[in-house]
Structure formats: C-alpha cells, structure tokens
Symmetry: C2
Subunit: 232 residues, 2 copies
C-alpha cells in the first residue's frame, strides 16, 4: 500500500478542537504560555500539556522556556500559512470565527515584569536598542555592545560595572506577555527600570497587586526621546 500516515499525522494534530484553538490563538505570531493556551482551549493544564507535546513533536509549535513559564509559538510562517489555508477552506463551507477581545490598555502599555519594564514600551525599548546596535540579540541571548555601554553611561548614568551578578545575566530576552515579543530583562533591565523610577519618569501604580507602571508627562517625553520610534 502506501508508506506512512504523513499528511494525516500533521492534519490530525490540527484536527482536534482543543489543539486548533491553541494554534489559532498563536496565529498572530505572538507566544503564549501553556496555561494561557489551556484556558484558551478551555481545558485543564495537564491536558494542554499533552496536546502541546504532540504539537511540538509534530513540528507545529516551538517552546521557549522562560523562568517557570513555558512559552509556545508557531514554528514558522509556513505553519501559519497552512493554518490560514485551512481557515480559508473552513470559511467557505460555514461559520467564520470571532476574534478574541483586547485587555486592560494600561497594563498592555507599561507594567512590571519581575523587576524590569514590560508591555508596549518595554518591547519598544528593546527594539530601539537593537536597531541602533546598542545591543546584539541572537535568539534569547542579548549582549551589550561597546556603543551600548557608552550610551548607558551618557544618558542614564548606569555604569556597566554595577550590572555584574553571580547568578544573573546582564541582558536577557524576556517574552512580553501582552505583546508576545521580547523585552529586556536581566540586571540591565532591572537597573534601567530602577533608574526610570529614580528620575521620576515612571512609578508603579499604588493599587495593591497592580503591575501597571505609570509614566509621568516628562518621563514619557524623555523615554520617547531616547527610545521612541518617531511618534508614539
């Protein structure tokens, strides 16, 4: 007869409703934690774990470990393309699908991730640093360049000497919860956030338990001047 399952194998991966929900949740290119994907699919974490291992074995998703979290993203654009094609075929025969709603805007914009800046502004900051070659990023590895060191001293009064730590890297890519792209973690990320607070550019929201970071007017301006991409 024929050789192997082949196409049926990968198709059956997408064929399960729970897995399909996870995959469509990942369609925007961002990454989600296992628990979030579980909630997205309406199943328990242990079931989701089983599904995610299968998806990973099938080459549809790739994990990225992040502390005790485990982020998953689609392997590449090919996977997304096939999913789009399937969605197109499905749309012809029947029902379309509704998009998932947005979340708290303030939280999306700026918040504390452990001890460093996250959210829209955090991602934007790392983007800017990378663009101007102040840091070099390869996958999750981030390295401060010589230009970067000069930049920190000049604009933020941060000396590279202060950043070394026995068990913690200076720079680290941290997946952003709302944007699902990387922002800057590590001792540098923490030092920068601390400096923002000292300069009265920003402060954590006083509401207990809140992770929102509120920028002052001047802080917003200064931040935009340093890391802004034109208008924002």
């Amino acid at each position: 007869m024929k050789s192997g399952p082949d196409i049926a194998m990968v198709a059956s991966l997408v064929g399960d409703p729970a897995r399909a929900n996870m995959l469509t949740a990942l369609m925007n290119g961002r990454a989600l934690t296992a628990s979030e994907l579980a909630q997205e699919a309406g199943i328990t974490p242990q079931t989701a774990s089983s599904h995610l291992s299968k998806l990973e074995a099938g080459g549809l998703v790739e994990p990225e470990k992040q502390g005790r979290h485990r982020y998953y993203r689609l392997t590449d654009d090919d996977v997304a393309g096939v999913l789009e094609g399937l969605a197109g075929l499905a749309a012809r025969t029947g029902h379309m699908r509704v998009r998932t709603g947005p979340k708290d805007p303030a939280l999306r914009r700026a918040r504390i991730c452990y001890d460093h800046l996250a959210g829209d502004l955090g991602v934007q900051m790392l983007d800017s640093l990378r663009e101007r070659h102040l840091v070099r990023q390869r996958k999750q590895e981030i390295e401060l360049t010589a230009e970067g060191e000069r930049f920190l001293v000049k604009h933020l009064q941060i000396s590279p000497d202060m950043l070394s730590h026995p068990r913690r890297p200076v720079c680290k890519a941290c997946l952003d919860w709302s944007e699902r792209r990387h922002h800057l973690a590590g001792t540098l990320g923490a030092a920068m956030m601390q400096r923002f607070a000292e300069l009265k550019w920003a402060a954590r929201d006083p509401t207990p338990g809140s992770r929102v970071v509120n920028f002052t007017r001047t802080g917003e301006k200064q931040f935009a001047a340093l890391f802004g991409s034109g208008q924002d």
Copy 2:
C-alpha cells in the same frame, strides 16, 4: 469561549489516514471512482462511502456522476494547495511518501470506453477540439459548433444528421479512467471511433476482454495531424 470547530473540522477530515490517502490520490487533479479510492485507502467500499460523504460535506471533494460510477475530484486548487502545504510540513518532521506506480502503458494510451475512444489519445482529441473551438464545453455539457460540423464533414465524412439519437446526447464529457480528465462520449464520440476503425487507423485489440485500441502507423500519423499537439 470560542465559536465553532471551524478549522478543526476541516483539518480532522484530512486527519484520518484513510481520507488522507484518498485526498493525496486525488492530488494530481484527476478524478477517481469511489471504489478506486477505497482500494487506494485500503478500506471497504462502504467505509469509503462514509468518508467521501464527509469530505463532500466539508467541501474538500466534489462528485461527478458517470453511469453507475461516481467520480470524485478535489473541489479546486485551494484544496490542493492546502494539502500540499500539509505535505510540506509533514515532510519536514519525518517521512516522505512514495508515488503510486504506473499501469499498463498501452491501456493508458488508447482504449475503448463503452463505444468511444478513451485514454491519452481520447483526452488529447477532446482537448484539441476544444482548443480550436470545434466544440464548446461547460462542465459536462459539450456542444458542437458550426465550425465543428464543417470539420467533421470535411475530414471524417461524418454528417451531423447521422448523430441524433432519441435517448443519447450527441456530445458528452466522459471522465477518462487513466487520465482522469474528460474525453468525448455521446453519439459523436462513438461515430468518430467507428470511423477510425473504418479508415483502418485503429482497431480493438483481438485479445478477448481487452479494451486496448491499437493504432496503425498511418492511423497514428493521421490522428496526430488532425488532433496532435505538435509532437506526440
């Protein structure tokens, strides 16, 4: 939660090994009968029937009734494209797939289908007729044009008057078993085949039960001159 199965529904259709085998068998754009697809998938006809209904309901295949046979083809190129994408993803993670072998070459080339010409040459003939606007085809409906009538009289001494029949159409598109594209059936198809025999261009193979049609050297040349596409 989310709305409907959507993408999972169509993916699960492809996800079953039997159905996947059927679909890949249809990937070349040809059409296959239900029994052939059953054999291709290694299942019984009644199981295949169930699968085919689902594939049809899901919009992946379309049936075409042909006598007591029922031919199935992929709905359109979009379906084929998605299948190719899935195959691509599957190929990355593991096993490729072997192609199905060829069949009897003589039978593929030219044979009798009921009373008219089928096989490679039969398909080629209808292609030529259509290309030169001697017939007009819409789906399974084929209509002889005025030019076509003149062509028949001039080159094959076939008068349109001889072709009318109370219960049989003059022209009809017939799905070709080997090529899985249409060839010409109806009273015209039968008349042309008969004329080929009278002209000693071709004759049915004497082997009992064989449906092979053998063309003579001159017959092949004449046929190619009338319906050939350059070199063949």
